[in-house]
Symmetry: D2
Subunit: 370 residues, 4 copies
């Protein structure tokens, strides 16, 4: 029987002086399997990951966990509690507009300097010493900066501090209205089929502020720096962003399926013992990030979304139907927006009304089967 | 072939000096049938009524309209264009919080004074003269007030000015996530079954600021005032609020059904000629407004809505399941909120996360079959 | 030396399960002086009242308090923590638009029923028994309702529960950009000059949802109900709303002046012992609430506020200058909005850009010297 | 007498189909002086630049303008019209959180490729041909992209298209609560003293999405690319961001001073004829951008801003005083935040309540006298 420890971590303080905290659940591994960090709900409206963590905890109780596992649901108490109308306005800091999932820290000179200064270390020494280096750098620049740090950076840094202890990081998100899809770093592309997720976006080693990047960029760029010296090492951690469907939607039943999917991956990576959880047979499509395209509304209006997710749409087939009630009589009152090229729709906007320039759909182009 | 005239009416001016306007579509009646005013989308996120107006216009082209018909889609250009995150924050003025559908004008002393001063008039004279009186009162107090009027009052007054010319007013709304339902004044309860709407709320003659009330309250209270004098007259206009399903949702197909439903009503009231449109056979439930109850969340948390709309729920059966990920291990992590009494759920909140005190569900209690 | 007790009261629960609470400071009276309840910051941006409570607490330490005093700063933790951009969007519930200071409870049939049922009671018995009646009614309808209550109602009810124990209630607010002004019930008009506040609005016995009204309406309408029976009793409690200047503004120095002003009133009412605090010599203007007029912007544009507070403005003199940069060359680019009648400006809008219908200024008309 | 032409440019379309446009004022130069583009109010709450454009237009009427001048007030009609509470929430797109002044386009490979491909051109040919190249690139990537572009990018691209025709670009902004300050590219540092602006931030050639950078980065990086080839050319355009004081504040009198300041600069650059306008004698401080530091609130609370702008503050002197009314009795209720090092405060936050991590002040460190 697995023991689950519960603690809370203060991550923000409100204007009235009250602290906001996140719950932290910890399982001590039975042996020296890879350590894992899983968080959910960094964007306030994307709640389904919490239900997946719930189902994982329920499962872990009767599983053998070989490595340490840390689970952080409700990871962003500011975003979770920010309403504007009925909608949870939890995608960005309401004061500054900064996307909560772009506040993580990465010091791009660190991997290069480290590789230059530490040529003699063994792989195991590299792992230990570099991990300490990125932790020290995070603490110095964000957690203990005499000028302070932004609200979003403080939140991110505290989560990142926990994630830095792990070999595997899973960040559970959702799209707006969305199918399941996975952001997978290119170097780890063989792991993509371990999840029951039909759409996979392969991402390069650039840093754009997100948790998955903040986790693997240091290690990936370290691997590249050693490679430039002629030494081949593995990227020593891996991180994925799982998009588990739509925001503002909670389903314990669907969460149970995603929990099984995560357990397949964890079992394959040696985090849990046994052979019970295995990826499902399914068609999985992948594309490179640069071919994952947003289509912006060419005009404003009311929108009926037509294209289903996960099915191939040929060039010229309709994505949406738009209603323009200001131009009945005089002009086309009902119009369509069509696919600019062959693609697979993955997600669409959450509202039935859009401005010119609103992101209507995101689609995979130049896709391939995994 | 019916001719549809298109004009636009300026209803607001933005801070940068640009006017916002509403499209107005007008059909001249072939004879002296009742005049009709239909508007949609007074709350910004409630777009489906626009599609119903679209389908009505398509139908009217080949129908014989006996009375004048005015249709105003996109009735609130401020609300339609107010986004906060992806959601259309169009329920209230973002500056003041005032619900856009509570800004209509009603001078409660007017019916009493009119009835006192106009005892000798015929019914037809009453209709003409009282209509002029409420128009004059509206123009004096809201449209031409030397102190101006609030943004919401100015918008409402201009729509109300058009509605005052009509014998029948339909205000097309939607709920948050909702079944179809109808607000029907008690005096007009026999008209409720002319629509294909399964849930009907019967409302009293009180004024709370909404368009339907602003339409019928003057006439209903006039009828009461004459009744107090011992004279029986009819309430000379009628007004309904139709809730056409969920907000942030557009469906031309569903709109076609609702258009047929509205045409059934209009045909029965003599607005269109023929016998083509008739109400569908269906179970219709009604209750008095005081028995239409909101259930507020007794605690905060993430919500999975369980109770379907339109089906009888017995006392103690679950409405929602709530997930509280901050209390796994220590306390009940999954809880339920149950029906406090026998009821029929009509609508629920739009978000998957709620505070204590958020309106979870609205339900009919003490309901009956129409 | 006065002892100040500190406790906290949970008044709301956030979506992530965390409670929000208000600090409550209590002083036990040395004898049986009137009991007092003072709260501040019910609207999130109106912070200055907190500083006044701070200065009052500093003073109370060395004063003799004869009655019990309860002080609640930061009274609305939801509003205090609701940002939208830099501004504290704390005037209304961001989900529903409901003004936080309109959620208090008042059962208008209670005073009438009580007076009918309790004709034989002494004044002291009336005071005790009616107080219990309104407390019971509040608990039954808001705090223990099986259908729950709205977030704003729950917050208000908990504050109101504390206020119901007091003989004197002061609700500390501010305007947007504003001079000091006071809302004073008509029956207590001789107390208006006890404060150092130059502008006084006299309000009738109607209930519109605010704390001051929720405090005095039951007792005032009780007094009226007994009067209708031919029995004269006093209104047994009194309540004032103090507007302490502008929102989003904190000044410990100005707070010290307002603290002295409140102490003058409390000393005169026998709450504190001594003769130290006395109202300042100043010109005080008053008007009836119906003559306190809002002027709404007749057009949209950028605004330079010209009229200073507290000085008499003659009809036709300018309140604001507006800049319309969209119409340079073609039209008047700079316009003025003038006073429609002789008045004293009391407050103006907080932003430099307005829509048509935005409340520009509030002014006293038909004013008189106190 | 100078002729001012007025046109309007459509830059956005609202959900209800209505276009939003910006006013464009154009003056044809009398000879071949440098062409100028001036815009204001890209952030919705920063209105004072419009008043400066007003005063400039008033002055230009009687001046000799040697080059073409284009003036665009109210440059962001979306931002200008976005309210949330009384405040104009115009800093970022309310849907996505994207800062309106970070949506400009820059293709960093263009200068390098151009310099590689065009070694033989004369300076004058470079100027003409490179200008065309950046215009073509902008049109292809943003204005005519088959996938469309984001709302903010479409707005920015249309403004940028006009700015690309100019030799001099001035973008008029304000801070939150702020002194006058200037963002000046390092290569143009001798122009900083031509304005009557006491604080100057010198910025490097990096691109971060703002209008000034979008203007000079292509040309500056072109200059650097030629320099790498051993050829010295000038940076052929210049661009400045002027911060004209505080947001939500309009003053025609202050605008007149800033208009004179801009005319001093334009006269010195040969845009207007004469010797009338000359920079005022004043102490001007400058620092490099990396030394312009934001201080983030180390704790949450209510804030009284103490440090005046433009005066040297020694290390340890107080910037703000904070009030924490939740901890009276038990803890320090009034605290201070002090300068971490010697600095000159330039701006501070606009609200009196802050979270931990809110930007309290921005200060110049390692400053010097110009």
């Amino acid at each position: 029987m697995t023991t689950i420890e519960h603690s809370t971590l203060e991550v923000a303080v409100l204007a009235n002086g009250q602290a906001l905290s996140v719950p932290v659940y910890r399982i001590r591994g039975e042996s020296d399997g890879p350590s894992v960090y899983i968080q959910a709900n960094m964007h306030g409206a994307e709640v389904q990951g919490n239900a997946v963590i719930y189902q994982l905890l329920e499962q872990f109780k009767s599983l053998h966990c070989l490595g340490n596992i840390t689970l952080v649901p409700l990871a962003n108490p500011i975003g979770s509690n920010q309403k504007s109308g009925e909608f949870t306005l939890g995608r960005f800091d309401p004061i500054t507009g900064e996307n909560w999932n772009r506040g993580y820290h990465f010091n791009k000179s660190l991997p290069i300097e480290f590789a230059a200064d530490n040529k003699q270390l063994t792989n195991e020494e590299i792992k230990q010493k570099f991990r300490q280096a990125i932790i020290d750098d995070l603490e110095k620049n964000k957690l203990n900066n005499p000028y302070g740090a932004k609200t979003s950076q403080l939140l991110c840094a505290q989560l990142q501090r926990m994630a830095f202890d792990a070999d595997i990081v899973l960040d559970l998100h959702t799209g707006p209205i969305s199918s399941r899809h996975l952001y997978c770093p290119e170097y780890a592309k063989d792991r993509a089929t371990l999840f029951d997720i039909p759409h996979v976006l392969f991402i390069p080693s650039d840093f754009d502020g997100a948790m998955d990047e903040a986790t693997f960029c240091p290690w990936w760029q370290l691997q590249q720096a050693y490679q430039a010296q002629g030494r081949d090492i593995d990227v020593m951690v891996e991180a994925f962003t799982l998009e588990l469907g739509s925001q503002e939607w909670l389903s314990l039943a669907a969460a149970s399926e995603d929990s099984d999917s995560v357990l397949s991956y964890l079992q394959a990576r040696g985090v849990i013992k046994g052979e019970v959880f295995n990826p499902r047979q399914m068609t999985r499509y992948g594309c490179m990030l640069e071919h994952y395209r947003a289509l912006y509304a060419p005009q404003s209006g009311l929108v009926e979304y037509l294209a289903p997710f996960g099915e191939i749409l040929e060039e010229g087939q309709p994505l949406v139907q738009m209603l323009h009630m200001e131009r009945y009589v005089d002009d086309d009152c009902v119009t369509q927006v069509n696919a600019p090229q062959r693609c697979i729709p993955v997600l669409h906007f959450a509202s039935a009304s859009v401005n010119r320039g609103t992101e209507l759909y995101k689609v995979m182009t130049n896709f391939f089967t995994l």
